[in-house]
Amino acid sequence: MNDTTGHDALVRLRGVHKTFGEGRAEVRALRGVDLDVNPGEMLMLMGPSGCGKTTLISIISGVLSQSQGNVEAFGYQWEKLSEDAKAIARAQNIGYVFQQFHLVPQLPAIENVAVPLLIRGVPREQALRRAAASLTDVGLGDRLDDPPRQLSGGMQQRVSVARALVGQPRLLVCDEPTANLDADNGHAVMELLRKASRRTDDQGRACAVIVVTHDARVESFADRIEYMEDGRFVDAPVGAHQA
C-alpha cells in the first residue's frame, strides 16, 4: 500500500523504527514504517494521540534521526549528512506549519514570513519583497506590518503558511495545523495547503504536503490518508474518527 510508487518519490521510508529512552523508560514510537510521499500529493497522517505521527514527520524532515531503517528525502539520506548540511537541506526543501503557529511575537507579519529566506542568506530587501508576495497569496496583503497579536488565530496560521511557502520548498510538513482553529478558519487553511500541494517549485518540480491531524473535519482535503496506531500504519481506520 505504501510502496505503490517507484524511484521518483519525494520521500521514501523503509523499515523505520524509533525508540526513545532505554530500559524501563523505553518508548517505541515507531515500529517499522514504510512510506513513500509522491510529488504533487496531499498526504494526511491520522491516528490517536501518541501513535507516533509527530515522530514520523520529525524523521522525514531531518530534525530527528531514526533508530533503525532507511530514510531518503529529496535524494538525501539524512543520517549521512552533517548537522550543517542537514540544516542547508532543510532550508532549501522544507516548509513547516505548526499547531501553535510559532510566529515571533515581536516581528511584523512580513518579517516573520521573511525569516526562512533570511536564514538562507537572501538579501533583506528581496526577502521582504517575496514575503509580501507570499502574504498576498494567502490573502493577507493588507496586514503586512501587523504583529501576530493583532491578527486572529486563523490569520496567524495563514501567516505561517505564507512563511512555509515563501522559500518555494518541495515539501510542506504540517503538524496539526487546524487544531487551534475553528471550522471556517480550519477550512481556509486547508484550502491553502491543498493549493500548495498543487504547486511546482521554481525549477518546475512538483511539490508535496504532509498534514498530521486528528481533525476528521478536514479529511476531505486529502489525496491520500494513512492511519497510524502504536507506531505502525494500519489498514483500517481504527478509531480514526475520534474528533
Binding site: 530534525v63 550543517d84 540544516a87 537541506a89 532543510r90 501553535q100 515571533v104 536564514i119 503538524d175
Partner: protein, 369 residues
Amino acid sequence: MLFADKLKYIVLVCGLAFAVLLITQQCAIFLGILIRATGPLQNIGQADIWVAGEHTYYIDMVRPMSDRDLYRVRATPGVQWAEPFFFFNTIVQLPDGKFTVVQVIGVDRQTMIGRPPTMLSGRLEDLRIPDAVLLDKVGRRRLKDVQVGDTLRLNDRRATVVGFCNAKKGLLSKALMYTTYENALRFVPLGRQRMTYILVKVKEDQSVREVADRISALDGIHGWTADEMRKRNIDFILKDTSVGLNFAIMVGLGMFVGLVVSMSTFNQFTNDNLQHYAVIKAMGARSRTLIGMVVVQAMTVGLIGYGLGVGLAALFTRTVRNQANELVAFIPWELLVVALVPMLLCVSLGAFVALRRVLRLDPASVFAS
C-alpha cells in the same frame, strides 16, 4: 528579537552602562590621583636628575642631605649645573591667629630653578626681596584671601606676600608657598641635614642615565632621572597605599554587576525565546547563522551600554573638573579602549551563555506541544 523585549533590553543596557561607567570613572579618578601625585615634579621641567637622600620614595617623604652633598654632586663628571631645591611642609600662622599647613618650596635665588610655572600677580624677581614669598591659588584661598603686602608668620619668622602664582598641585592639594632657598631654610629649620633635593642638569653630550648612576654611586645619596622620579612616586601610591586596591575593588564590583546582569539577562532571554530558536533551527539555520544572530544582538546592546557608560563617565569628569577642581579625573583615549574590555567580556560571556543553550537545542523540539 531581544530589541523587541523592551524591559529586558533596558535592564541589559543599563547594567552594562553602569558597569562601564563605574569602571571608567574609577579608573579616571585613579589616573587623576596618579597624575596629581607627580604634580610637584611636573612644575619643574628643567631638571634632568633629582638627587635626594637614599630611601626617599615619595616626593613628600624626603630624607634631606647636607650642604656638602651639593658640592659632591657639582663635582660629578657630566653635571652642567646642580642647584639646591627646598621642598618641605611647615605650618603658617595667619594674621588672625589661625594655622594652616603649607608646602614650602625654596628655589635658588640666582637661577630661580624650580620656580612656579605661571605668575598670576606680582613679579617673580620680587622673591629676591628678604622674607618674600609667593602663594599659589590654593594658598590664597586657605589663607582667607591674603593680599600682596600681607605678613604671615612661619616658625616665629615673618614672611611678606609679594605675589600669587599658579602651579600643579600635589595629591593632598596643600597650599604652595614659593620662596628662595635661603629664606626657606630660615622658615623651616631642619638642622644640619637640610638640603631636601638637588636638581641637576646634565651636559649636552652626556648621557643622563650615566650621570645619574655616577651620582648614585656617591655615599648616602641617590640620583633619579625625572622619569624614574615620576615612576617612584606612582609606585609609592600603587604599592604602599591601599588606594590601588580600593580602586581595584570598585572596578571588580563594576565588572561583577555587569557580568551578573549580562549573563542572567541573556540566559533569561534565551529561555523565553527557546521555541523561536528551535523553529529557526528546524527551518535550516546553521550554527553560523545562530551565532551571528546572538553575537549581533549582544554586540549591539554592548556598544549602546558602552557608549552610555563612557558618556556618563565623561560628563562626570567634566562636572568635577568644573567645580571644586579638587578631584581631578582624567580620561585619556587609552582608557576608552580599556573600558571596551569589560563591556566585551560581559557581552561575550552573556552571548556564550545564550549560545551554549541555543546550539545544543534539539530542533525536533519545534514539534513538542
